[in-house]
């Protein structure tokens, strides 16, 4: 079995294009039968909370909330950086379906066991 592909996402509603693009790519991977994980850090952790992606839409890209639902329905997973959720007051009760709070060790383990990582600057 191939290792999941990690897609890095660091932006939320303050930059709709940068918030959406990692999910576009990750959803393509999921549709192509690949295991895909979007790793949300910094303000992107809001995207894994209930209602956190509502009303985020970049020109030429699909509305993010629907895209995330489709990604999760396709088997995709969302990891929320625990060091980023904590100072924002985001706990497990706020996390949406398909998302979970993880720390750096989980990400490091994925990378050292072969997961490729895709970043969008």
């Amino acid at each position: 079995m191939t290792q999941p592909i990690l897609f890095q996402c660091t932006h939320g509603s303050e930059d709709p294009e940068r918030a959406t693009l990692p999910f576009v790519a990750a959803n393509v991977a999921a549709n192509a039968g690949q295991q895909a994980i979007v790793v949300c850090t910094i303000d992107a952790v809001w995207l894994g909370t209930q209602g956190g992606a509502d009303r985020i839409e970049a020109n030429g890209l699909p509305p993010l909330a629907g895209l995330i639902s489709e990604f999760v329905a396709n088997g995709g997973t969302i990891w929320l950086c625990g060091a980023c959720t904590k100072p924002r007051g985001i706990g497990e009760a706020n996390v949406t379906n398909g998302a979970c709070i993880v720390g750096a060790a989980r990400i490091v383990e994925a990378v050292v066991t072969g997961s490729p990582s895709v970043a969008f600057a």
Binding site: K86, G91, C100, V102, G103, A105, V108
Partner: protein
């Protein structure tokens, strides 16, 4: 850290330490204090612990014996392997 000498099980309450404030470093330090073959039972109230501590243990070459979650506290038991 408390120790049950008969079972060689060591207890460590990590409190609300998380990824951003030293959970991994402290767990590694606690593992270094127990003997090879001993167990370290860690309680954590940070949600990161459930995903991160098993990963950390595997990265360090130790064994995850159990993981319990009561909804507020995660308790994970590790065996020091080396």
């Amino acid at each position: 850290m408390s120790v049950d000498e008969s079972a060689r099980v060591h207890e460590f309450d990590a409190g609300d330490l998380g990824c951003g404030n030293g959970l991994a470093a402290e767990v590694r330090r606690q593992l270094a204090l127990v003997g090879v073959g001993d167990q370290l039972r860690i309680a954590t109230r940070d949600p990161v612990g459930r995903e991160d501590l098993p990963a950390l243990a595997r990265l360090l070459g130790h064994r995850v014996l159990s993981l319990e979650d009561d909804g507020g506290t995660t308790t994970i038991t590790l065996e020091r392997m080396r």
